[in-house]
Symmetry: C2
Subunit: 253 residues, 2 copies
């Protein structure tokens, strides 16, 4: 009987889809680069972008196998769309190589897999199969944004995307504000970059003047910016987001 492989959770740089590339050693520690270079079985969000990350790692550490010989499988589309927790996807078959003794890497397009990104179904399947799960250190935009906000970091929530339509979005914003003011819990959320400005306008329209809003955009990139101020003061300022750079939003007391 083979010894089983482990599932490594491999974070990716945050420059996916951005104009500027960050040198990968700036944001991934040596321990993560070495562990990732050793792997040649991958489960990923997108095979093309996984190969691109592997290529960048390979420029610093010899890969266990050439790019063309890496075993890379993609998570199915329904997991991308619905999320791991509503798609009812059984990821155990994807972990067959680990059951045969191969270490397997889980990789998303940016940041930590399974956090605000697909992959939790794979981690769950690994636990069900009794496989060891090893999360590796790397950039996580949500936590960088939280730390840089100055909002309460002892009690916080990430709630994903807000509704796109105006009325339910406004309702959701006021609901999150009420929760933050009542409990002191910082509320973090994200948006697809091209909707950043619409979300920003909705925040300024719906929140109370004294509520604090923080935005981090382009985290780890040269143009990175993190700011936090009251809604009142934001109303007199330029929007701190554009339509191209990924941003993380937070509100709190």
């Amino acid at each position: 009987m083979h010894e089983r492989g482990k599932l490594f959770l491999v974070p990716a740089p945050l420059d996916f889809g951005c104009d500027t590339a960050v040198p990968i050693a700036e944001v991934l520690p040596e321990g993560t680069l070495v562990a990732a270079a050793r792997l040649d079985h991958w489960i990923c969000e997108n095979a093309k972008s996984a190969r691109h990350v592997l290529k960048r790692i390979g420029e610093l550490h010899a890969l266990a196998a050439p790019l063309q010989q890496q075993h890379i499988v993609e998570l199915p589309r329904e997991v991308h769309k619905k999320g791991d927790h509503t798609a009812g996807f059984d990821a155990r078959p994807l972990l067959a190589p680990a059951m045969e003794g191969h270490d397997v890497g889980l990789l998303s397009e940016a940041g930590m897999p399974a956090v605000a990104d697909p992959g939790a179904s794979v981690v769950r399947a690994a636990h069900a199969l009794g496989l060891q799960v090893v999360p590796l250190v790397g950039p996580v935009s949500l936590l960088l944004a939280l730390a840089a906000s100055g909002l309460n970091g002892q009690n916080f929530a990430f709630v994903g995307y807000l509704p796109q339509e105006q009325v339910p979005r406004g309702q959701r914003i006021r609901e999150l504000e009420a929760l933050a003011l009542r409990t002191g819990q910082t509320q973090l959320f994200i948006e697809t970059p091209y909707r950043n400005l619409a979300l920003w306008d909705a925040l300024l329209q719906n929140l109370r003047p004294t509520t604090r809003v923080a935005v981090s955009s382009g985290l780890t990139l040269p143009q990175a910016a993190s700011r936090c101020d009251t809604v009142q003061r934001w109303r007199d300022a330029l929007a701190p987001v554009g339509g191209k750079t990924p941003a993380v939003f937070a509100l709190g007391a």
Copy 2:
């Protein structure tokens, strides 16, 4: 007039207070090490442990000033005890060096400052003074634990410490479970290591058999372990925590 300095949020390794030390380059990327080595003004949780982290960084990159000549100030005790958000502490005077043009580092004893740790008051003061805030990449135990849990990573909350007394602790556990089951939001929390086992017992006593509980202990250390299972199965297993190693707990559907 001087150009103002920036506030850098510098993450520390997660081995604080542990028997084993992790090589610092394993968990802090080159970009973080270089940025930290350039600084000689610090605001920290504890000056002694800050010097210890700087010594470890200095073994890899020449420090801007010898350890004895680093300017290190500690956050006041009341911020440690009550948390930045209830102590009503005005941290602006601590940032005087930044107003005079010095870059300043914020450092906690383990992990990311201002996340489940003191420091948010300093970040808030930096925003009030119009200083640039730069969060650097490093290990964040909460997010490593969340990713390794396989629980919902699209919607999650960190709620800090649970009450220590049996009755309110049981109530809080059932309240968090009800919230997680109703909304799908994973609930993360921590405990002082010597109370880990008492918390574990309370979780198994108070949660429903089908609820999932995840524990990550000793993250980034050689003995790191991340597991997740239902309460029912945990009741037949050994406790996955001891009384010495820091652990992060999570529960979800």
